[in-house]
């Protein structure tokens, strides 16, 4: 229930948990090496899909082991389970006060609690689905021939990084696996290394997150020093030490809670970088340079969640009784960064024409929601007396649980959305290839090529795909609905909780009105840009000839979509198991209240609050996101399918509705679209340009100057000494004339000098 109960439960994590990390990690060199050896061989391409079918069983085994760990943990219904795998680093420390030498270690081990369970499932489940999707997406494109082994190798390493981060039992190992993911995302974003834009994007992603990581690692150094007196003989960064109520009490007693807030604040900057929040958000949209499965994996399902996970891991520290009221500033900062990013990313998503970029900004915006929710939850945990007051306890755990549940819902929905967008792009690409091929045939003579100009990712080239890609369109619809927060599915269960709790804090701490208003407005904006994306892609008439020729081909792509559609729809089941309560309260069990009571409990928190203020607020949020946003999108981008095209019955109402709204309420937005705001949004509010200019002018300029300084001044001084001594020796040498007369004279002078000196001394 509280921080005190976290440690010392004595439950062991089963040792096969190591396999979850180890199997994909070992598959990395195997796939890489086999690929290098057998590239071009038919059996390697056909039977093993260039390594895809090696990765698949590995990820499946990882998922099975994860499920076994989760099942055992849930069965035991314990607050947390730990086990130590190895003493990684042992070292000594001299206590400043006593001068005593004490021994410490930094250990590697496992830590499983409710948050771990959820993320472990998300990561291993989505990794497997994305693996299946990749086989369909990567192995049918000739561009990837003979380099797919690199994709699958880096993919499994990436997965092992995410799984390791989730499972590890200390902030240090969280960081270690975090960096491993950073490396893999660098390699995967730069997968098409020959494109300068991909090389640039990969570098940008790594460096931007690295800036955050520097702060994170400094924060860890601070944290280690704070907990050092309480961890003699052990690991001062282990969760069991950091979350321990007695240790936190001792730190508070020593008057160091300000220093602790600083350390956590530094670590939070790392999370800002990794989860692409303002102002370190610039890398995420560019990261779409990687192949689409990578976007699904890194930029929706796993890596960006790392930053959220880090902040969520700080909850026991914020919630400790000892730290009561000490960290409200940091909680506000977290919520503020979230609020600003949510609104900014949604605004930029308004004008994006690239399907994947819309999703990228949507990811950024939804992650920001979770940050805001976490900020609010951390504020509540830090300020309310929730250890003794039952009502306060419910508020805190549901606020925290709502943020974590949104992470779950968003990951499932966004994984599906990215894979669906990959499906669209893949089929557009193939259709373009077919169309182009026919063209080539017809216009054989003039050798006209339009290959280079066609953008298979641009929504300007799509439209009317609802009838042609029914599974994809359905997945996209369900995913969008989940992100928007359509009642009873996916994100609805968590998003309303986040908004309500941010407002709840705002009523206590007026600073929170800023993030609270921002996330409320963003709800409507989400409704707009997600609907815009769906209608531009799937409704209306095909905007190009290519879009008219699209059809679904490979079976590998729809499979994960068909798995994920019910997953998002069945969020109601998770909600009825009191997911938000379970995730927030380490003392609770899953499904404690029974399904129906659980459902009502969650409904009350998401939908039908007793407090009239929150009830009104919730309905404003729902109204904005379900009516205002989508209606505007329909008015602008809706439309009937082309003649003779028939959408599936469950898609048809949406298309028809959009056509009707479009006919009735169409309005002219050209003035707005050509205004300076739209231009600024197209340019992503100029952040990238400013950062690039700063790097170019300040950093590169200064380093060039330093290089010149080093050559001219530092080395120049040495050269000066050198040439000085050379010229002196040249002058001395000129005395050596070779003439006997000169020598005799010098000898005489010397004798005289010595005689004078001797006389003087005597």
């Amino acid at each position: 229930m509280s921080a005190e109960t976290v440690s010392g439960t004595g439950l062991e994590v089963p040792s096969f948990a190591l396999l979850i990390i180890l199997l994909p990690m070992l598959a990395f060199p195997v796939i890489l090496l086999l690929g290098r050896l057998f590239n071009g061989k038919d059996w390697w391409r056909g039977a093993l899909k260039e390594g895809g079918l090696i990765a698949l069983p590995v990820m499946a085994a990882s998922l099975i082991a994860s499920l076994a760990v989760i099942r055992r943990f849930i069965g035991e219904t314990s607050a947390s389970a730990t086990s130590t795998v190895m003493h990684w680093v042992n070292f000594a420390w001299q206590d400043a006060a006593t001068g005593e030498i004490q021994l410490f270690s930094m250990d590697f081990g496992f830590y499983v609690d409710h948050t771990t369970v959820m993320l472990l499932f998300v990561a291993s489940f989505l990794c497997l689905l994305i693996n299946i999707f990749s086989i369909g997406y990567m192995n049918t494109d000739p561009v990837n021939d003979n380099r797919n082994h690199r994709f699958y190798a880096e993919f499994v390493l990436f997965c092992s990084g995410m799984l390791g981060m989730v499972l590890s039992d200390s902030f240090l190992w969280l960081f270690i696996f975090w960096e491993l993911m950073g490396l893999c995302s660098y390699l995967l974003i730069g997968f098409y290394y020959e494109r300068p834009s991909a090389a640039y994007a990969a570098k940008k992603a790594f460096l931007t997150t690295r800036v955050g990581d520097v702060f994170l690692v400094i924060g860890l150094a601070m944290l280690w020093n704070l907990f050092q007196p309480h961890a003699v003989g052990g690991d001062a960064l282990a969760y069991s030490v950091v979350f321990d109520g007695a240790n936190l009490q001792a730190i508070a007693d020593a008057g160091k809670s300000g220093a602790l807030q600083l350390a956590l604040g530094f670590m939070f900057i790392g999370a800002v970088g990794k989860s692409a929040q303002f102002p370190l958000h610039v890398w995420l949209p560019d990261a779409m340079e990687g192949p689409t499965p990578v976007s699904a994996l890194i930029h929706a399902a796993t890596m960006v969640n790392a930053g959220l996970y880090l902040v969520a891991r700080m909850f026991p520290i914020f919630g400790a009784e000892a730290m009561h009221g000490a960290f409200t500033d940091l909680a506000f900062l977290i919520a503020l960064v979230g609020g600003i990013t949510a609104c900014m990313a949604a605004l930029i998503a308004f004008v994006q024409m690239d399907l994947k970029k819309v999703l990228a900004y949507s990811t950024m915006s939804q992650l920001a929601y979770i940050f805001t929710g976490l900020g609010a939850a951390l504020w509540l945990a830090n300020s309310l007396d929730w250890h003794h007051d039952d009502a306060a306890h419910t508020i805190v755990v549901v606020a925290f649980g709502a943020a974590l549940f949104h992470l779950f819902n968003h990951a499932m929905a966004k994984g599906m959305l990215f894979m669906a967008s990959g499906s669209v792009i893949h089929e557009m690409h193939h259709a373009h290839h077919d169309v182009h091929h026919h063209h080539d045939h017809d216009e054989h003579h003039d050798g006209h090529h339009e290959e280079d100009h066609f953008d298979a990712q641009s929504m300007a080239n799509m439209g009317g795909l609802a009838s042609k890609l029914p599974i994809t369109a359905t997945a996209m619809l369900v995913g969008s609905a989940s992100i928007i927060g359509l009642p009873l599915i996916g994100g609805f269960w968590s998003k309303e909780g986040i908004i309500a709790n941010t407002w709840r804090v705002a009523l206590e701490d007026p600073r929170f009105f800023l993030p609270a208003i921002l996330v409320l407005v963003t709800a409507g904006m989400t409704g707009f840009y997600m609907s815009r994306m769906w209608f531009m892609t799937f409704a209306g008439k095909p905007k190009t000839e290519v879009a008219a020729h699209v059809h679904e081909q490979t079976p590998w792509i729809p499979i994960p979509l068909l798995v994920l559609i019910p997953m998002s729809l069945s969020a109601i089941v998770f909600a009825s198991l009191e997911a938000t309560h379970y995730l927030g309260d380490t003392g609770s069990h899953l499904g404690e209240m029974g399904l129906l009571d659980g459902f009502l409990y969650e409904m009350e928190h998401a939908f039908a609050n007793h407090d009239p203020f929150f009830l009104v607020l919730t309905y404003i949020a729902i109204g904005l996101s379900l009516v205002v946003g989508p209606m505007a999108a329909m008015a602008l981008y809706g439309g009937q399918l082309a003649d003779g095209e028939e959408a599936k019955p469950w898609l048809k109402p949406f298309v028809s509705l959009s056509a009707r709204v479009n006919k009735r309420h169409r309005f002219d937005n050209t003035a707005l679209a050509e205004g300076s705001l739209a231009t600024a949004l197209q340019e992503r509010l100029y952040f990238d340009a400013w950062y690039d200019a700063a790097c170019e002018k300040i950093v590169a300029g200064f380093s060039n100057l330093a290089a010149v300084f080093d050559r001219r001044v530092v080395d120049g001084a040495i050269k000066g000494i050198e040439s000085g001594s050379q010229s002196t020796s040249r002058q001395v040498r000129s005395l050596t004339t070779g003439s006997a007369r000169d020598y005799i004279m010098m000898a005489a002078l010397g004798t005289l000098l010595i005689a004078l000196v001797l006389w003087g001394v005597a």
Partner: protein, 530 residues
């Protein structure tokens, strides 16, 4: 048997000198035929060294408990009178401070030879590499100041010839600069050592005191005396300790090198052949750090406390300034050379932190950099060897054309920028912990350096491994020729170095535990920890 004198120092020294004189005896026309047997013999000796030191590590030879040696006590210790009148002895021994360096040298010798298997004039080159290794091991095993200094200067000779005979276009200038610069600093150090020698009390000079001078160069005895004097007073007095500390440190700072005494290093590296660079960066730079721990830190802890902040500034400037200068380089090898300056700053910061974990971080950095930097220089060498250019951007899209060079570069660069689970990270993280404890907000400097390090490595990879595509033009002079990749021996060397980097990255305790045992023992003695 005196394993250290006979096998670790004597064997490579005698074999390499014999082989070199044999080459001298043979008529010039026949010399090239000697290349293969010379290479084979020296390689076998290198492998023997590696096996012997590895056997020592596992206790197969000597049954040593490396975690329980203590401070200023040694294993495999042997002492013979050398110059009786002056109190000079041949005194060798190993402890947990020197052993990792000896093992590293023995490990790098065969790897260096593999990486440069077909170096031109191999009949002289390979024996010189072996001689280099013998003198380096000699420095690390010496427990007599006279002998230490002899080996210290002897290391210059093979390196001087390696640069002079196998170097690039400006090798003559670089070799002279390298020699004169470090030699001048060593002379200051020598003056310090001699002063120290004469300041000894003849009554405390120990069993090997010189019959003429009444004093001894024996470092173990001297350390014993100093440790006793430092516990309730200041050995040699506060002023003299400070003066000697500065004189000795000057020699070591130049060797390390620390900014602003670093400018010999980029010149030497850029002109040196690959094998020379690998040993220079891998082991020779660590002589400076090793010397600091062995002499000034051990003898003058009070002066160390007095100069703690100055030492930190040297480290700070080396680390941050070195990284910034790296970013401004256009020459690949020069960039890697400056990155060495930057990483050596970490060692100074570790010493300056005055925490056992900082010392252990410095020791592990010496070791980890000793494995990673040879790989960096092997990559640079391969780049030069195959593309005939050192300019960043001379060849783009290597991932497509030379996947082995590209992979090795990616791996080495990532290891050097401190990626977790590779050897360098452990030292960096431990250092940050110690650094924050001692210097607080100064930590932003190393933090900045971490970011800049990533920037220069990533930027250089963007312009070598990435980009290019179909339109890639090979560098001037290579048009129309097949685009090369690593040859077999280079591949083997890269794989060995990469495997070691991963091994010590995932299981750092293999080497770190003994380093930590040494620092624990050292701190109890030097700074009075209970």
């Amino acid at each position: 048997m005196d394993l250290v004198s006979i096998v670790l120092v004597g064997l490579p020294m005698v074999v390499s000198l014999l082989l070199l004189s044999l080459v001298g005896l043979v008529p010039a026309a026949l010399r090239p035929r000697l290349a293969v047997p010379m290479r084979l013999v020296t390689f076998v000796v290198g492998v023997v060294l590696f096996l012997v030191t590895t056997g020592m590590f596992f206790g197969t030879l000597g049954e040593v408990d490396w975690l329980g040696i203590g401070f200023n006590t040694y294993v495999f210790e042997e002492q013979y009178t050398w110059i009786e009148s002056l109190g000079v002895t041949w005194h060798v021994g190993l402890d947990a401070l020197s052993f990792p360096m000896v093992w590293l040298t023995a490990f790098l010798l065969p790897v260096t030879q593999i990486a440069t298997w077909n170096e031109k004039r191999g009949e002289v080159y390979h024996p010189l590499i072996l001689l280099m290794g013998a003198t380096l091991i000699g420095v690390f095993v010496s427990l007599d100041l006279f002998m230490f200094y002899i080996f210290w200067e002897l290391t210059l000779i093979p390196m001087f010839f390696l640069i002079l005979k196998w170097g690039g276009a400006e090798r003559r200038y670089a070799a002279q600069k390298f020699f004169i610069y470090t030699f001048t600093a060593s002379v200051v150090m020598l003056l310090g050592l001699v002063t120290l020698y004469f300041l000894q009390q003849p009554t405390q000079a120990g069993a090997y005191a010189g019959s003429f001078t009444g004093r001894s160069f024996d470092l173990v005895n001297l350390s014993e005396v100093a440790m006793a004097a430092n516990t309730d007073g200041v050995f040699l007095g506060k002023t003299m300790q400070a003066v000697l500390f500065v004189m000795l440190m000057l020699g070591f700072l130049v060797k390390l090198p620390a900014a602003p005494f670093h400018t010999w290093l980029p010149d030497a590296h850029v002109q040196a052949p690959t094998g020379g660079s690998m040993l220079l960066a891998g082991v020779m730079l660590k002589m400076g750090a090793y010397g600091m721990f062995r002499i000034p830190v051990t003898l003058f802890p009070h002066a160390l406390e007095q100069f703690q902040f100055a030492l930190m500034l040297f480290g700070f400037v080396s680390l941050v300034y070195g990284a910034i200068v790296c970013l401004g380089q256009t020459n690949l090898k020069k960039m890697v050379a400056y990155s060495s300056v930057s990483h050596m700053g970490v060692i100074l910061l570790g010493i300056a932190s005055q925490q056992p974990i900082g010392y252990a971080a410095a020791l592990f950095m010496m070791f980890a950099h000793g494995i990673i930097s040879p790989m960096l220089f092997a990559v640079c060498g391969a780049f030069k060897h195959h593309y005939h250019s050192m300019e960043i951007g001379a060849m783009r899209g290597m991932a497509k054309h030379s996947p082995w060079i590209a992979t090795s570069m990616m791996f080495g660069w990532m290891a050097s920028l401190g990626l977790p689970l590779l050897a360098g990270f452990v030292a960096e993280f431990m250092l940050l912990v110690a650094y924050w404890a001692t210097f607080g907000w100064w930590i932003l400097g190393p933090g900045l350096a971490l970011a800049i390090t990533a920037a220069y490595y990533l930027w250089s990879m963007q312009r070598t491994i990435f980009e290019g595509g179909e339109a890639t033009q090979p560098p001037a002079g290579m048009e129309g020729k097949p685009i090369p990749d690593l040859d077999t021996s280079e591949k083997v060397a890269m794989l060995i170095l990469a495997a070691a980097t991963v091994l010590f990255g995932i299981f750092p305790f293999i080497a770190l535990d003994m380093m930590d045992a040494w620092t624990q023992a050292a701190f109890v003695v030097l700074f009075g920890g209970a």
